[in-house]
């Protein structure tokens, strides 16, 4: 039997994603539901004298009550199943099954319109996957959609704004990114060390690289590297960019000794980068890194070991 290839799902264009989001906007739960409950309670109150007068009438009322309970629990089960499907799509995105996660979130969006939190989660999957797959234009659409719906002071809003600035830099929207980073600086300065400030430092580093400020970035390399640590393996991208800045500084240096120092720093940082992220992934995310010399040789990942 032929099973569909999960990777066959095409990345949507920005226009297609915007249309999909417009066609299936989140809908707030209808307030009429609480009125229905009140109406039922009122109705029971009204007919209660009749029920006491003719107790046999309680039978149809009890049956109607049981049907209502059955319908309600069915709806609850349905909502629970839907939540599980959205969580699964998110987990697949985390596990880097990007296309399959995207396909599932795409199909779920029309079904979760009446669940604003699940709707938001589906759009988060779009933003994350499209960003990872270098579909930056569409990722920006998803991120803008999120920013319209998440309160400004919410940590998720700060994270999305950072991701958005990064995506804008990756798609050469430098002015847009510069504006976003300026606005973020005040917020980030108030935060304790952690992934959010680290993400800000990474975005600033990307900005330096894209605007050609290699020497500035190289000068701050040690401090920036320390700031990047809370990003986990994603810090590898930062180390790669720092290595690139050192490499460019070495190429531009007039003094042979300074060039040698920068070259050694570049090698050390590139080693760190490739310890955390494979070179192909580094170059896929930041095209400048294709220019980095392939030294040192690839590390022995567990995949290369007999037990892997």
């Amino acid at each position: 039997m032929n099973t569909p290839n999960p990777n066959a799902f095409e990345l949507p264009t920005a226009e297609r994603l915007a249309r999909h989001l417009d066609e299936h906007p989140p809908v707030a739960p209808a307030p009429v539901r609480s009125w229905v409950l009140l109406a039922i309670a009122g109705g029971l109150l009204l007919i209660s004298p009749a029920l006491l007068m003719y107790p046999v009438l309680m039978l149809p009322v009890a049956v109607a009550g049981l049907v209502a309970v059955g319908v309600f629990s069915g709806k609850v089960q349905q909502a629970r199943a839907l939540r599980q499907r959205v969580v699964r799509a998110w987990e697949l995105a985390m596990l880097r099954h990007h296309r399959e996660a995207l396909r599932r979130a795409w199909e779920l969006l029309p079904l979760v319109a009446r669940h604003p939190d699940l709707h938001l989660r589906c759009v988060t999957v779009f933003a994350h996957v499209l960003d990872e797959q270098a579909g930056y234009d569409a990722a920006l659409v998803a991120m803008d959609h999120l920013l319209e719906r998440v309160p400004d002071r919410h940590p998720m809003a700060v994270q999305v704004r950072l991701q958005r600035a990064n995506a804008a830099l990756c798609s050469d929207r430098l002015a847009d990114a510069d504006d976003a980073l300026r606005k973020l600086r005040g917020t980030v300065d108030t935060l304790p060390p952690g992934p959010l400030p680290a993400g800000y430092h990474l975005a600033r580093l990307v900005q330096d690289v894209r605007t050609g400020h290699f020497a500035d970035a190289a000068e701050q390399a040690d401090a920036t590297a320390a700031h990047l640590r809370p990003l986990g393996v994603y810090a590898g991208y930062g180390y790669g960019l720092l290595a690139y800045c050192q490499h460019q500084t070495a190429l531009r240096a007039d003094d042979p000794q300074a060039a040698d120092t920068a070259r050694r720093a570049a090698r050390r940082l590139w080693h760190r980068a490739t310890l955390l992220v494979p070179p192909a992934a580094l170059a896929f995310r930041y095209r400048e890194l294709e220019a980095m010399p392939a030294d040192p040789p690839p590390s022995p990942t567990p995949a290369a070991e007999p037990h892997a």
Binding site: P55, V56, E91, G232, L276, A303
Partner: protein
């Protein structure tokens, strides 16, 4: 599960952060069983009375043909249902509403969490699922306080009960806490049983990642280094989803396993990654042997 869990030894444990030992709620398995049985008994009686009330209402026309005579028994039958269910529902709702507040207080305000748990445990009657969830929060609090004997005891007590309804979602977390508590108490058979139960439980990605860390720690403690390294690539990929410090700690554990299993290149690679991922303070703790880690890789100053 470990059926022969030792009784908590308050005198031997140092008081956990947040509250002095004398103020801590005592963990008494007999009291736990009494509380749960009380709620279950009340619920059964309420259900029985409801069924009886419905039967009375339905059979009234047969038993009392005179409609005027039917009114009083019908009224009593109808009143019995809210009279038994409303107190149960109200107290259960109050407990359920307090649960998120307890959860929010667990990490930063343990004394407040302790007070709220004490209040909720004093409420009666409460449905079983709500009572069990309060005990789940108490186990979490004791776990945060590093009182692993008590945490393990509560986890075992709760896991022995049928976890249905909203309480079912607490099962993976209870098993994870139990496995970690048993590892901290050096009870390897107990940890194995908890990990085995986790393997038979459907887990979310977040829980699966926690299980990976515990399983690796267990394998190191048990000296089963090859098992720790099995499916290494997948383990590393899952560890990468953790926050940086935890990710680094798992790398350090795997590096120790690789070294012990005689795979120096892999050990070096994992250790270098750990050094990049862990904050300096955690690295210091790992070098001192935290999480069964042994410093096994010569430092070349590269990473």
């Amino acid at each position: 599960m470990n059926d022969t869990a030792p009784q908590p030894d308050h005198a031997a444990d140092p008081p956990g952060p947040g509250a002095p030992a004398s103020l801590l709620l005592p963990i008494d398995p007999a009291e736990f069983h009494r509380q749960v049985a009380w709620g279950v008994g009340y619920q059964r009686i309420a259900l029985g009375l409801t069924v009886a009330a419905i039967a009375v209402v339905l059979m009234l026309p047969l038993l009392l043909p005179d409609q005027d005579a039917q009114r009083l028994p019908a009224l009593l039958a109808v009143l019995v249902v809210p009279a038994v269910w409303v107190p149960l529902s109200m107290t259960t709702t109050r407990v359920a509403r307090a649960l998120p507040m307890i959860g929010a207080a667990l990490a930063g305000r343990p004394a407040e969490a302790e007070r709220m748990i004490r209040e909720q445990l004093a409420r009666k009657p409460v449905m079983r699922w709500a009572r069990l969830l309060v005990y789940h929060r108490l186990a979490t609090l004791r776990h945060h306080q590093r009182r692993f004997d008590e945490s393990a005891t509560i986890c075992q007590l709760v896991l022995q009960q049928p976890l249905a309804g909203p309480a079912a979602s607490a099962r993976p977390h209870l098993l994870l806490m139990l496995a970690e508590a048993q590892l901290c108490r050096d009870d390897l058979p107990g940890a194995y049983r908890a990990l085995d139960a986790l393997h038979r439980t459907r887990l979310s990605l977040a829980d699966a990642i926690q299980r990976l860390a515990l399983q690796t720690r267990y394998a190191l403690k048990a000296g089963d280094y090859d098992h720790a390294l099995a499916h290494g690539r997948r383990k590393v990929e899952l560890a990468e989803l953790m926050p940086a410090p935890q990710c680094g700690a798992v790398h350090a554990m795997l590096a120790t396993a690789a070294h012990k299993a005689g795979r120096p290149e892999l050990a070096t690679w994992l250790w270098e990654r750990a050094e990049l991922l862990c904050p300096p303070q955690l690295m210091l703790e790992l070098r001192r042997g935290a999480f069964e880690v042994e410093v096994v890789v010569p430092q070349d100053g590269d990473a």
